[in-house]
Symmetry: C2
């Protein structure tokens, strides 16, 4: 039996060829992903319009055709999409769970009140799949960023200069086991394992905060100092709504993993967004971390 | 099917009547538990000797017959136990994973080098069961604190004034599911669930640090403000070495759970140490939190 594969990652679902028929609508949250996706679409000759969520999306979206909406301005969002003829959507970039007490809803929101109320409950995956279903019920086609621009997904095998050691391999396998067990319960998408010891598990705090915690735990001497050891693993939850919630890594993930003393990062190949591709690999090489895309194993417990 | 039980906690193993034949040896780590156990033993008329680990055990152990040993003074520890005729042991109170580079080992330690090297690897449970087997291989009988003093374990049912609501019940069930899934992988013993949303999962940072994180996440508005909602659940890992590693709660756990805005705490009845019994319940009542001992369900997935 081949030991050197992450048997515990789910096999990627076969993706259908994505056909975008009209202008692409991009609902933009935090981070660099919305702009990277927009650039990729422009390079493909695809017309687009970005709806940026105020306080979340970066100002850089203003380079493209765009409309700003505040949280709660659902009517304004639909108007912008319709005015620009967008029936194909990508929803991308994180959005904080809003404090509903401080959100001002417009008329379009009030028309969709039952949907909004349903968002207040349940895990992330429940919320995100509700959002997708909501757009679909309005006649939109929702695509994953990786379907529109496959080059944004992490590839398979060794992605940087360094390769994981045998000890790293054992930590990778263990970390994917933890991520998978948690994913079934709609918890996080990431875990850190050091020498067979689970140092941290991600829930609502996010990967960055988890890595900061790992760095602190290591300085307290609770996780072995000295040489770089241990791995951050990221993979989507089994059955999660991959169109809106793929796990993501970037240069900042790499530098935080380095600060936590880890030997490297392993991601589920084809299922994790790595939008700043070159910068992420360069950061891994500079810090001396391995960066590994793991193919899903053939077996499934 | 009864919904109102934590079906996902393992059934407590039937405990054999514990017969302590000679003086009780207590290997004492951090916190109040070693002294509480010693008091309970004295009240039973049981002679004892405490071996306190320097830098971990409280000075209060000096009220009892005791010997201080530094981390690494394994020969001195055995000498103290033998001099006081202790063949029955309880190992109690947390100990930080030592930074082996800074530990000075005595001759007795050097004689047991292979054992010490084996402690450097693996999860907590691996380390703790190794320690138990090590003492057993030297002819000691290792007991759980709850076997010697059952009144230190959390009981079943409503332990304080307040009872969980129907919404709390759903969070309790979900939280035990998470704890159990993680426990199988030798990760943590605790999780926090708020309105069906897993806010945090414990790994190496410990319950207190996890609760502090929950308080921060809530202040950032990522987990709903306002009325107290959500639950901290604690249960042992399935198959864990319960003689040395029972989960623990105390008044400080309660005040940190209150600061995190939680509605209450649920523990696996008979499987979680609650040494400061009265103070813990009083803290729960003062903060308006429920405190619930959950019986294991009959079913096991």
């Amino acid at each position: 039996m081949p030991q050197h594969r992450a048997d515990d990652i789910d096999a990627p679902k076969a993706r259908e060829e994505t056909k975008i028929e009209g202008p692409l609508g991009i609902i933009a949250g935090r981070g660099p992903l919305p702009c990277v996706l927009a650039e990729s679409a422009v390079a493909r000759g695809l017309p687009l319009h970005i709806v940026g969520i105020r306080g979340e999306a970066r100002e850089a979206i203003e380079r493209f055709s765009h409309t700003w909406v505040k949280m709660g301005e659902i009517g304004k969002m639909f108007a912008a999409l319709n005015d620009h003829g967008c029936r194909d959507l990508v929803i991308i970039g994180g959005v904080n769970r809003p404090d509903f007490a401080n959100v001002r809803f417009d008329l379009g929101a009030l028309r969709n009140l039952p949907f909004l109320v349903s968002l207040g409950k349940g895990g992330d995956d429940h919320v995100l799949s509700s959002i997708v279903r909501f757009f679909e019920s309005k006649g939109y086609r929702v695509h994953g960023a990786g379907d529109v621009a496959p080059e944004l997904l992490a590839g398979a095998g060794r992605l940087g200069d360094k390769a994981p050691s045998a000890e790293d391999r054992a930590d990778i396998d263990m970390a994917f086991k933890v991520v998978r067990a948690l994913g079934r319960l709609d918890v996080g998408q990431a875990a850190v394992v050091v020498k067979g010891h689970v140092l941290a598990v991600e829930a609502a705090e996010g990967t960055d905060a988890m890595l900061v915690r790992c760095a602190e735990l290591r300085q307290m001497g609770r996780a072995g100092r000295g040489a770089r050891t241990g791995v951050l693993a990221k993979a989507p939850k089994p059955g999660q709504e991959e169109r809106v919630d793929l796990p993501t890594i970037g240069p900042d993930t790499v530098s935080k993993a380095a600060a936590a003393g880890l030997a490297g990062i392993a991601v589920a190949a084809g299922q994790v967004l790595m939008a700043e591709h070159a910068a992420t690999i360069e950061a891994a090489n500079q810090h001396g971390l391995f960066l590994q895309g793991e193919l899903a194993g053939e077996t499934d417990e």
